[in-house]
Structures are given as C-alpha cells and as structure tokens.
C-alpha cells in the first residue's frame, strides 16, 4: 500500500511540471504572432519606417514575459 502512495507522490511531482510543457512554445508563438502582425501592418501601410514591426516585436517579448509570470504565479 505504501508503494502505491509513493507512486502517487512521484506522479504529483511530474504532473506539476507537465502543466508548463506548452509554456515555451506559447511564449514563442506570442512573440512571432505580434511580430508578424506588425510586419503585415507595415506592408499594408508602406510607411517610411517599419514602426509596427518594431513595436510588435517588443510588445511580443513583453507580452510573453507577462504571460510567463501570470502562468507561473503561485496558485491562490
């Protein structure tokens, strides 16, 4: 019976990590989505300076970090 409990404890250990498995990809996705969004907007607007690509990529990085902190903050 105790071995079963040990197994449960071990499982609890890795399950808490599994939660964060998609985190890296999601952060990457956020950066890429906002950067490409800005790039697309710049392509439509033909401005002299690619403002939205720059702001998009920076916002993406900021957003990914905010997302990271939000997802990993201690549970209530």
């Amino acid at each position: 019976m105790s071995s079963k409990n040990d197994l449960r404890k071990a499982r609890k250990g890795y399950e808490s990590y599994l939660k964060y498995m998609g985190l890296g990809f999601t952060m990457l996705g956020i950066v890429l989505a906002l950067t490409f969004g800005g790039w697309w907007l710049d392509k439509q607007l033909h401005w002299a300076f690619p403002v939205f690509t720059l702001t998009g990529s920076l916002l993406g990085i900021a957003g990914a970090l905010v997302y990271l902190f939000q997802e990993t903050k201690p549970q209530r």
Partner: protein, 367 residues
Amino acid sequence: MGASFAQHADSLSEHDIDHAVEHLNAEDVFEAAPTEGDEHGDHKFNPGEMIMGHVTDEHGWHLWGHTSIPLPIIAYTQGRGLSIFSSGHFEHGLVAHAGYMLLDGKLKATDAADGTAAHEHLVNEELTSATYDFSITKNVLAVFVSSALMLLIFLTVAKAYARRPGQAPSGLQNFIEPIVLFVRDDVAKANIGPKYERFMPYLLTVFFFILINNLMGLIPIFPFGANVTGSISVTFALAMITFIITLLNGNRHYWGHILAMPGVPKPVLLILTPVEILGVFLRPAILMIRLFANITAGHIIVLSFFALIFIFGELNAGLGWGVSIFSLLFTVFMSMLELLVAFIQAFVFTFLSAMYFGAAIEEPHHH
C-alpha cells in the same frame, strides 16, 4: 525537438540532395520520352524522395518496388461533377486519367486526354482550385483500419465486463483496464476535478486513437505503417475537437480570466488580454504541431538510417553491407524509443486536453 530531428536528417543526406536535384532534371526528360527500360535502375537512390514518400500521404499504398495497392480517387470539381475511379489508372502518377492527374502526390485537374504523360504544364489551375479531393488515401484507409481495430478491442472488452460483472478481468481486459484507470485517475480526475465524467468518453477515445495509430505507424507491413498521427491534417482535426470542447465548456470564470484577469493593474491588462486571447488559439496549435512533429521526426530518423545503407551501398557494395549492421542496430534502438514516444505523445495530448477542459470549467475560488 522535431525541427532539430528533421535538420539532422537533412544534414545526413545533404550531399545526395545535390545529386538528387541534378537527377530530377534528368528524370523530367525521361518521363517526356516514353522509354521505360530503367527496370534495373540507372536510377540513383534519392533518400529525400524515399523518406518523404513514406512520411506523407499518398493516393495508393506502396508495398515494394513497383507494386502498390490502388485506392479509390473521389474528386469533386465545380462544374464537372463527381468522379470516382481507381488510382491504378494513374499508373503510379505517370499519366492523366478522367481529367485528373497526380503531381508530387497531389491531385490536379487537367484537360489532357487519358494516358497523356503527367506534366506540370498540363495543370488546369482554374479547375484545380475548384477541385475537392475526397479520395480514400493511404492515411484515410489507415484511419478506417485503426477505427475497426478500436471497435474490435473495445467491443470485446465491453462484452467481457457485461458477461462477467464484478469478477477479475481476463484476457484483453487485463491490458485495457489499467490504461483506462490511468486516464481516469491521473489525467481526467487530476486535471478536471469532480466533474470529470463528462469528458471521459472524449479523453479515452483520443488517447487510444493516438496510441493505436502511433503503434500502427511503427509496424512496417500493410495495412500498417501509414504515418497517420504524423499527418498535420489528422492532428489539426484532433486539436480542433479539443479547442471546440474547451470553448463550449468555458464558464464565466474562464472567460473573465482571459478578457480581464482579476487583480491585475489596468496598464498590464492592455498587454495581458491580447496575449491571453492569443493563448486560446496557440494552445491547440501547439497541440497539433507537437504530435505531428514528434511522430514525423521518429519516422524520418528510422528511414534515414535505412537510407544510409543505400547511400553507402551505391559507393561500394561491401560498405553498404557493413553500414547495414549499424543501421539495423540503430533502427532497433530507435524503434524501442518510438514505442515509448507512442505512449508519451498519446498521454501528453490527452493530459493537456484535460488540463484545458479543467481550466474551462473551473469554479471561482474565494479570493
């Protein structure tokens, strides 16, 4: 991880891809002139073509050499109507039939007469864009086979429970019961909580569908060996179902957390809300890509080891035999690893789906 595997496979055969490109042009000339006397193969071995041929879907099931099982072509073109015929009429994709032809395995509409050698300049782009390909392809057939297998397994097991209620499991039950309990206790209950029962049918179905198709993909003999879970269309459909179930079950608490996370200052919300909305779409997208990339990468690696035999064999027959020993050993090792991956990927997909459902139906705690 998948991308790096694929790169690895590329670098293995970079030298030969150069050769393949030269060869490709030569082949075009071959096809234009109706000389088919290359049975013994002035054909140089093309690893890229061999690997992609095995990993991607096709209109016919290649067995060996020039032998393949033709599969039904079902195509609907607006203005032309429905056509159903055997892919055998295409003669391995070499000729046109009934107004269609195959180019790189894709069905294209053409105006060329039956039996004309298939070529890019014969494609009728306008009609092709109005064509819907409903063909029973290799992957579709493999899904039929796996569905039949699942029905067989689970109807047998269900009957055993009905026949011997309350008794110890026997036979197939012994194999299935622990997995079902694992999905219930460690995946569904752990992530969804007390209301897990509603999601059990989907979670169990998706787990066993992915597991059985992963395992079937490792058996290289017909009717197995199709790369079903390594097809992005299949993983797209699976991720889409998870996505839709999550959206349909999302409660006020879930949407509140996405649109305006409580307890977060307003300026941060300006960034966080778009990011959370992006996350809603990114999560299923990652689910789709992870399964596709992991399974396809496994197939590509095993095929690359086999390709090495022939790459070295072309240089020198003895070298080919020598390399084949190492290739076989590595293939056995990789296949063992793939058995593990087959379980892990089925588990991960199910686990993350359950996690998303759990987040969608979570009730608010006291703040």
